[in-house]
């Protein structure tokens, strides 16, 4: 065992000497491997970076929230199907009915009035400024019990605000930044499609996906108002989703109960799928993870192609090296090297070459991942560096095998005669 180890180290040392003797060629040979490993590092860093940012945002929904939507929830590709578009709307009455369920603490409808009667954006103006990309939602006072919206200043509207049809509203932090960046917005007035609203509350800033961007992606660019006020802005609005707040620790039971009740209310027959969706933070994260797993698989395939090309380069150069060093092989055999010694020598040389390429790729990939982090979430997962390194070494072993075998089989007499 000890002898084998020392022979291995000896071979490793000889391999380093050879590679040092052919610096430029060695470097050119491993470029393919280096690029392959960089790709693995970068893509895995970006995927897991997006994943972490996404999870952070979804977790802000809280562990008790269930989102009920007419359309299927989560990440979708392409337009919704005809069946989805033809589904009946959820109603305020649905939300109120859900409140009677045993494991539901409360349920609030949220009516989207961001765009007006003719599809034109609803204009919001205040303090001499004007904007039209704010998400406007009409809801009920029980929104105050939701985990998703947290007040930092002021208060939510109450049942009396609703009863007396007072036009009051709670604004997201981005709205405050737009209109009143340097003062408290509480008590100020803003105009929505010409109607005056008094600001009574300010919400906490929410985590953002992809480091900012604003616009529709910004969950803090939002205004909540009593549902009656929202219906006065857009009387025909039917775009409702329902936020259900489950009792502590009962979110799964609550979800089942919500689904049973809505199936009954919406006349879904036995055996048919739901014509609405219920999503919890966990279910959305799960869905996202299944998508990133697919992307990760694609990444593995793409970088395998890169590494394969790198490996062929390595095989090519090792074949050249074996031919060039025929005489050296002859000398080594003459003084007692067995086939296995020569085989081992060239295998170790090839895998040292690619292993070095792997390390170089890891270093560059890590630096690039750090750079990307400045503009985009990126995080190198713990498994990426060892995977990259061992894949590189493996490439060397696999693609070095044939050249090494060729070297091992050379005839000592002819090799010694080789010029």
């Amino acid at each position: 065992m000890r002898v084998a180890t020392s022979r291995f180290l000896e071979n490793l040392k000889m391999a380093f000497d050879t590679l040092r003797g052919n610096k430029l060629r060695s470097f050119l040979t491993i470029i393919g491997v280096v690029v392959g490993v960089i790709v693995v590092m970068l893509i895995s860093a970006i995927i897991s970076g997006i994943g972490m940012a996404f999870e952070e945002q979804i977790k802000a929904f809280g562990t008790r929230s269930i989102f009920v939507n007419k359309m299927d929830s989560g990440i979708r590709f392409g337009r919704p199907s005809r069946e989805e578009r033809m589904r009946p709307n959820l109603t305020i009455a649905d939300a109120l009915a859900l409140r009677t369920l045993p494991d539901v603490e409360t349920a609030v409808p949220s009516l989207n009035v961001s765009s007006g009667f003719f599809g034109n954006a609803t204009v919001v103006s205040a303090n001499g400024k004007q904007t039209s990309n704010i998400r406007l939602s009409g809801t009920l006072p029980e929104i105050s019990r939701a985990e998703t919206e947290i007040l930092v200043e002021g208060r939510w509207f109450t049942q009396s605000d609703v009863d007396f049809k007072k036009d009051s509203c709670v604004i997201g932090s981005t709205v405050k930044d737009t209109f009143w960046p340097y003062e408290s917005p509480i008590g100020k007035t803003l105009e929505i499609n010409g109607r005056s609203f008094q600001v009574i509350g300010l919400l906490e800033k929410k985590p953002q996906l992809l480091g900012g961007g604003g616009g529709n992606n910004d969950a803090s660019n939002t205004i909540f108002m009593p549902i009656g006020s929202a219906l006065r802005i857009k009387p025909n609005s039917e775009d409702i989703f329902i936020l259900v707040v489950a009792k502590e620790g009962r979110v799964l039971q609550a979800k089942d109960q919500v689904e049973d009740m809505l199936r009954a209310r919406r006349g879904v027959t036995f055996g048919k799928p739901n014509n609405f969706s219920t999503a919890t933070a966990d279910s959305i994260i799960e869905q996202f993870q299944s998508i990133t797993a697919g992307v990760a698989l694609a990444m593995v395939v793409i970088s395998s192609i890169g590494l394969l090309i790198g490996g062929i380069g390595v095989m090519n150069i090792m074949l050249v090296s074996v031919t060039e060093r025929t005489r050296e092989i002859g000398i080594r055999k003459a003084i007692g090297a067995k086939r296995s010694d020569i085989l081992l020598q060239f295998l170790i040389e090839a895998s040292t070459l690619t292993g070095f390429g792997g390390l170089l790729g890891l270093g560059i990939g890590w630096l690039l991942a750090m750079l990307v982090r400045l503009v985009f979430p990126s995080y190198v997962p713990y498994w990426a560096p060892p995977l990259g390194f061992f894949a590189s070494v493996g490439i060397g072993v696999v693609f070095g095998l044939w050249p090494a075998w060729k070297a091992a089989r050379l005839d000592p007499i002819e090799s010694l005669r080789y010029e």
């Binding site: 000890r2 002898v3 020392s6 022979r7 000896e10 000497d17 050879t18 003797g21 005489r327 050296e328 002859g330 000398i331 080594r332 055999k333 003459a334 003084i335 007692g336 090297a337 067995k338 086939r339 296995s340 010694d341 000592p412 007499i413 010694l416």
Partner: protein, 255 residues
């Protein structure tokens, strides 16, 4: 797995049948024993006999020269003695080992333990230092680094190159390179030092020095076989075997 004994018996019987002559399975007491060695190459339909029925013995401590013109079979004989090749027919014993039936890896072990090669063109590894070149046979023998280092240093000192251990071949003169090669050949204490035209690439003065070194090594008890086509080199040996057309033409003691 076959029973070794019956396997040997089988081989013995096969040989007896095919060659019609019994084969001695008793190891001879001499260092080298070649018994009825043939080496035949197939050139198309024709058979080319490089060696025809060559037999000779070498005792321990002999200083032998093998001489002959090119094409005489001298190189073929050297390759056989050096265990780089196996004979087509016949038995070859070296230091009690029957090498004519050995596999590649067994031959490699014999080359490592029993034979020290010295070549006309030195055949040192260009990128390795003198010390590393000398250590190489010990690496393949599986010796540990510290012991190896010490032995290689001793071998280099015995050829008076103790102050050149860190030099690479291209930083050494021709004579120095050949002395590194001799140190490499001796480091594993082989049974024979096998030199192929050791002075062929050297000028007269350096050749003289190298031959002095061989003389000294012989006096220290090493067995030396010198393969050459130069008579004045061969005459320094104590026994000369002349090869012509694949046969031993003359085998004479000169000193």
């Amino acid at each position: 797995m076959y029973d070794t004994k019956s396997d040997q018996m089988y081989r013995f019987m096969e040989n007896e049948e095919s060659e019609g002559q019994p084969r001695s399975n008793q190891a001879p007491r001499t260092l080298i024993s070649m018994e009825n060695i043939w080496k035949t190459y197939q050139m198309g339909v024709e058979q080319l006999h490089a060696l025809r029925d060559v037999s000779f013995q070498v005792e321990k401590g002999e200083y032998l020269a093998i001489i002959g013109p090119s094409g005489s079979g001298k190189s073929t004989l050297m390759n056989l003695i050096g265990c780089l090749d196996s004979p087509s027919k016949g038995n070859y014993w070296i230091n009690g080992n029957l090498v004519s039936d050995m596999t590649d890896d067994e031959l490699a072990r014999i080359r490592n333990k029993e034979i020290g090669f010295v070549f006309q063109t030195f055949n040192l590894l260009a990128r390795a230092t003198a010390l590393h070149n000398v250590e190489l046979p010990l690496i393949y023998a599986g010796m540990r680094a510290a012991e190896r280092h010490e032995k290689a240093m001793q071998a280099l000192e015995s050829v008076e190159l103790g102050d050149r251990v860190g030099h690479k071949p291209n930083e050494l003169s021709g004579g120095q390179r050949q002395r590194v090669a001799i140190a490499r050949a001796l480091v594993n204490h082989p049974s024979i030092l096998l030199a192929d035209e050791p002075t062929g690439a050297l000028d007269t003065k350096t050749s003289y020095e190298i031959m002095e070194l061989f003389e000294k090594l012989h006096q220290e008890g090493n067995t030396i076989i010198l393969v050459t086509h130069e008579h004045d080199i061969a005459e320094r040996a104590h026994r000369i075997i002349t090869i012509r057309d694949g046969k031993i033409e003359k085998d004479e003691k000169t000193k």
